[in-house]
């Protein structure tokens, strides 16, 4: 990959050499100096989550300076240090405090608001993960701005692209707010360089607002397989699998033969074949892997919303009229109970 000059000076110079660049404001060089973005980084047990890298990728795309923000138990030595190495991040604000470890919206939003005000940021960006979805709108309301959710494109510093109606329409929207509060779709913003940066880690302000909620417990689906949202290959099953036993018997070996993550349609999740967190679609996860291979999924609008940006879509379904075949690059009409095991065997021996 060609190393892209991320620093604002170079960026400004480059912008002047290319006056036709997309940033359509008066002068891009002046703009690059004025823009300052806070990328809200999500971390768990001292490690950055994939949504954090999407936030940084979008912030870098915007131009201007990029500051990372991370808070939690002992983050300075762990996730803040990790963030400091991301290429293009100029500074990392870190708040070491156990109170923020679980990312509870009430105190975390107040914390962010204080840091946004102090740093005079023009843009605040987080990934559209459960964390970003919960915290950022609260931040936006406290700042009295209208958030822009789940963007897939940046047209200029105030104009953004986002899917609406389950991805059946693409909205280009211009914000008139002074501070732009944005969540970004992970699959649309990738490719940050996690090494090579040398940002300074500094203490953020900590207003110590008491949490209104108490974290009780969590139950996370454990899996050795790649994470669904960021996997390069996804194998997904639907209602056609008929039961949890069949889902596990057929889909898991197929996933393993490809090194793929496992996903499911809403029908499969509702019927208890797979865990809720594996749901792909408008109300579940959005994925855009190199390969999305699905079996027993008809292809309802809501499901397509979550996977139609995949590079290659392959479908196995016994109904030749299933809508999934209208989007699949390759379709196989047949009984998945025969075809999936055969495919698994052939992939294994290949």
């Amino acid at each position: 990959m060609i190393p892209i000059a991320r620093h604002s000076v170079l960026r400004a110079a480059r912008a002047q050499l290319q006056p036709t660049r997309k940033l359509s404001l008066p002068t891009s060089s002046a703009l690059a100096r004025l823009l300052s973005t806070l990328a809200v980084l999500e971390q768990r047990n001292g490690k950055l989550e994939s949504s954090s890298f999407s936030a940084v990728a979008a912030a870098l795309k915007l131009g201007g300076s990029v500051t990372g923000f991370v808070a939690g138990s002992g983050v300075k030595a762990t996730s803040a240090a990790e963030a400091a190495k991301i290429k293009g991040v100029e500074k990392v604000l870190a708040v070491d405090n156990d109170a923020y470890e679980k990312g509870l919206a009430e105190n975390y939003a107040s914390l962010l608001v204080e840091n946004i005000k102090k740093g005079e940021f023009t843009h605040v960006i987080a990934g559209h993960s459960a964390f970003g979805k919960s915290v950022l709108p609260r931040v936006a309301a406290l700042l009295d701005v209208q958030q822009i959710s789940d963007i897939t494109g940046i047209e200029s510093e105030d104009t953004f692209v986002r899917p609406i109606y389950a991805g059946n329409a693409i909205l280009t929207v211009q914000s008139t707010d002074k501070i732009k509060v944005i969540t970004v779709r992970g699959t649309a913003f990738q490719d940050v360089e996690v090494e090579g940066g040398s940002a300074e880690v500094v203490d953020g302000v900590d207003p110590n607002v008491p949490a209104l909620t108490e974290w009780v417990s969590e139950e996370l689906a454990k899996s050795e397989r790649p994470e669904l949202a960021t996997a390069t290959r996804v194998v997904s099953g639907g209602r056609g699998l008929k039961s949890k036993e069949e889902f596990d018997r057929l889909m898991l070996p197929l996933a393993d033969s490809l090194g793929a993550a496992v996903g499911a349609s809403r029908a499969a999740v509702d019927s208890g074949f797979a865990d809720n967190s594996l749901q792909v679609g408008q109300t579940g996860k959005n994925v855009a892997p190199q390969l999305y291979l699905c079996a027993g999924i008809s292809g309802a609008i809501q499901h397509l919303a979550g996977m139609k940006d995949s590079k290659v879509i392959a479908a196995i379904n016994k109904d030749p009229e299933a809508p999934i075949f209208q989007v699949a690059d390759v379709g196989l009409v047949g009984d998945l109970f025969d075809k999936v095991p055969e495919l698994t065997e052939k992939l294994k021996s290949a």
């Binding site: 919206a105 459960a130 059946n168 693409i170 280009t172 974290w215």
Partner: protein, 260 residues
């Protein structure tokens, strides 16, 4: 805590099964003559409010107020909410301008005013409307009120008379349980419950339930639009690449496409 006074904001949206069409001017989605229904996530919040009443938990449900903002057809969804079991409804009359309607921040401010005026102590909202797909209103409302929030709830339990409440909600890798105290704002996820159908007698009864019409001005809220629609376009079309005969054909095609 004396009793639960629940506010359930609902939205009238294009039916989930309809594929929306973009208008010629590229300013929005064609809504005229298109089937509309109650936003699916809002059905879940109404259902949950009714179940809180039926469950007879430590705090009695005193009132379930459904509310919706929009044009002249908005009362349709409010009648549906009342047929399911809401006690009364507010229609906030907002003239239709042929655009996306009120922004979440404005709706949150409007709800904040209603919460105060009506002494509400629990607000149940859907996690997102399936038209705008923003997923913001509940969190914004909680922020404005300074109340605790739980998004994407899959289980809600009121533990005691003091208003301790436990909410299990969906997060990226599974579920998480939070404990807090009422008053609070909760947004609902698909797994929370299975909404009931309104029976014919209940639909008839709902016609007699009180439905009050109000304006934003009555609530002291201005219709501010901070986001300007530049354009609305079709997503890039994706064409099916045809079918193969057998598993070998599938593998060969995937190799050809560089996916294997």
């Amino acid at each position: 805590m004396s009793g639960l006074r629940i506010l359930v904001p609902v939205k009238r949206v294009i039916d989930y099964a309809i594929k929306p069409r973009i208008n010629k001017a590229q300013t929005g989605v064609e809504t005229a003559g298109v089937k509309h229904s109650l936003n699916p996530f809002d059905e879940l919040s109404i259902e949950e409010a009714i179940r809180l009443r039926e469950r007879k938990g430590p705090i009695k449900v005193e009132d379930i107020l459904a509310l919706s903002a929009g044009g002249p057809k908005t009362p349709d969804v409010l009648r549906t909410a009342m047929a399911m079991g809401a006690d009364r409804a507010f229609h906030i009359d907002v003239p239709e301008k042929g655009d996306a309607g009120l922004e979440p921040l404005t709706i949150a401010k409007m709800l904040q005013a209603v919460v105060k005026e009506q002494n509400v102590n629990l607000v149940l909202l859907g996690k997102q409307a399936i038209d705008g797909d923003q997923g913001q209103t509940g969190q914004m409302l909680a922020g404005l009120l300074g109340w605790p929030q739980a998004t994407q709830a899959s289980k809600i339990e009121i533990k005691d008379e003091a208003g301790t409440i436990e909410v299990t909600h969906e997060v990226d890798g599974g579920v998480e349980t939070l404990r807090t105290k009422l008053p609070m704002v909760i947004t609902t996820d698909l797994r929370l419950n299975e909404p009931r159908y309104a029976s014919l007698p209940n639909i008839m009864k709902a016609k007699k339930k009180p439905l009050e019409k109000k304006t934003l001005a009555d609530l002291g809220v201005e219709d501010v639009r901070k986001l300007k629609t530049v354009k609305v376009t079709e997503p890039p079309p994706r064409k099916g690449g045809g079918k193969v005969e057998d598993v070998d054909g599938l593998i060969a095609k995937l190799k050809e496409l560089g996916a294997l």
